[in-house]
């Protein structure tokens, strides 16, 4: 995938359909926090030190390429306008923090978009691997391979007792944050979500909204991730998350089944209404689009609706985000209303074509 495609095309690998538990789990993500030995962490490093980190990692590009079949590309965030950086956030390639501050920040992205390495985010390196569906093991294997290649070339900040040293003490040890993006409309509709969230938290995990820390759970999409990073092995952390997510998925499936059996007419009506609005609306807000897409996605998984079956809901979720819309339009700055109109038009076209 060329750089231009990465920014212009909505589709990235994690949106692929047909993955394990893909009816409920959108994507799995593994993130490893690493720092180079001997250079202060980004928050305390000066410009010169930060650019030294960038150039050191840029030099790893060839190592990454020779070991992997497909190639990595290097993107200097400083050279990317804010809008394009925000598009990368909407596609989950980089974090909101990484988009905000661009000087001496960079990313290395694998052509198939499964792996991205953020340089000088909170830590010198944030190796991230995103896979469609519930696929934590594969995501970890990829991220771990990248870590091995980097480690082979650079001395990483590591301490026998504390493990990998990170800028925030909450990431110490494995530096591993494993998270899973789940779509839980039936648990929300049946009012069970709070109970589930509380239970998940008690098991040492956290639950957040669509774009990570401090964001809302729009479109009934939640991120479940591990909280603790020290004192457990990578396998233990992933196993724990996997088994909890499996439970949540089972509950969601049961809730969907129950909802369909008990309130068939209401649910069928709700799904078709959502579909109707998405297909014919002439102006639609981002929040409304996500809420309706959530209903249609569930209706599609329950076999209530077949129309638009080739349509990729994960992709539509990204297309309807404000920054991506702005990027797609050729206008300099869309007003709120123009954006709503464009959003409605794009959804209409997608649903009609597919």
């Amino acid at each position: 995938m060329l750089m231009k495609n990465l920014l212009d095309q909505p589709f990235v690998h994690w949106m692929s359909s047909g993955a394990q538990d893909g009816d409920i789990v959108l994507a799995s993500r593994i993130r490893l926090a690493r720092n180079l030995e001997g250079i202060p962490f980004p928050q305390r490093a000066n410009g010169e030190q930060l650019s030294q980190v960038v150039s050191q990692l840029k030099s790893s590009l060839c190592d990454l390429n020779s070991n992997e079949q497909s190639d990595y590309m290097f993107i200097d965030l400083e050279k990317l306008p804010l809008l394009e950086r925000l598009v990368l956030v909407e596609k989950h390639i980089i974090s909101p923090d990484h988009a905000r501050e661009a000087s001496n920040r960079a990313i290395l992205v694998k052509q198939d978009t499964t792996v991205s390495i953020m340089v000088n985010e909170e830590d010198h390196l944030r190796i991230q691997c995103l896979m469609p569906g519930l696929n934590l093991v594969k995501a970890f294997t990829s991220a771990n391979q990248v870590d091995d290649i980097i480690e082979n070339k650079h001395a990483l900040a590591f301490n026998e007792e504390l493990g990998y040293l990170t800028s925030c003490p909450t990431n110490l040890g494995t530096g591993l944050r494993a998270s899973v993006m789940v779509h839980l409309p039936a648990l929300v509709l049946t009012g069970q979500i709070n109970r589930i969230v509380n239970a998940v938290i008690q098991l040492g995990l956290t639950v957040r909204g669509l774009y990570g820390e401090g964001t809302e759970a729009v479109g009934n999409i939640f991120q479940i991730s591990n909280q603790l990073t020290l004192g457990f092995t990578e396998q233990e952390i992933i196993d724990n998350l996997y088994s909890v997510v499996k439970q949540v998925v089972d509950h969601e499936r049961t809730a969907r089944g129950g909802l369909y059996a008990d309130t068939t007419d209401m649910l069928v009506d709700r799904v078709w209404r959502a579909y109707g609005t998405l297909k014919y609306a002439r102006s639609i807000s981002g929040q409304e689009a996500l809420a309706l897409l959530s209903d249609v996605r569930m209706g599609y998984e329950l076999g209530i609706i077949n129309e638009g079956s080739n349509c990729n809901f994960n992709e539509l979720m990204v297309i309807t985000r404000p920054n991506f819309l702005q990027k797609m339009s050729d206008r300099p700055e869309l007003s709120g209303n123009e954006r709503k109109k464009l959003r409605a038009q794009i959804i209409r076209e997608k649903l009609t074509n597919d």
Partner: protein
């Protein structure tokens, strides 16, 4: 209970106003309350969570007086413990050695543990990996002894001996 104002969201606060001895009561949701200026939620939630974390670093019943003085600074990056308290972020890898003792209770509070058992970079030497392995086997061995499963325990003891030989520790304690 629904919000008196928008009648769609759930009310989350009950507001009683007494103006000129006239008492009025309202049930509002967060948005309507904010819009009506009834209550100011001046903090944004994101920084609130961050502040909460920083707070965790500060408060404890038994605090080392040296920690409170916060004067000692890291020779590599110049961070003091006060800096850390303020930002909640560590300056560089050397800080973990400089402030090691001060971080320990904190790490126990965050993670419930303060020792790493996960991946080890190859260049940090294979011996650490083996030492961790020995530690794990030893725990298992103790369990076997408690359960009086001596045959299994003997096997593990031999395994430990072999591993210790491998890293030149034979017979000695870790």
């Amino acid at each position: 209970m629904l919000c008196d104002e928008c009648k769609s969201r759930t009310a989350c606060m009950h507001i009683i106003k007494i103006v000129n001895n006239q008492k009025t009561e309202k049930n509002l949701c967060a948005e309507c309350a904010k819009a009506a200026g009834e209550i100011s939620l001046s903090f944004d939630t994101q920084s609130y969570v961050h502040d909460f974390l920083k707070g965790i670093f500060n408060h404890g019943l038994f605090v080392d007086p040296q920690m409170l003085r916060g004067q000692e600074s890291c020779s590599e990056c110049g961070m003091t413990y006060t800096d850390f308290n303020r930002k909640g972020k560590v300056g560089c890898s050397a800080c973990y050695t400089v402030f090691g003792g001060q971080f320990e209770p904190l790490l126990k509070r965050i993670h419930g543990s303060s020792s790493h058992t996960g991946k080890i970079p190859k260049r940090n030497g294979g011996t650490l990996k083996i030492r961790q392995q020995i530690k794990k086997i030893r725990q298992q061995l103790e369990q076997y002894v408690i359960n009086e499963e001596y045959e299994k325990a003997v096997l593990l003891r031999d395994e430990i001996k072999n591993l210790e030989k491998e890293i030149g520790l034979s017979g000695k304690e870790e």
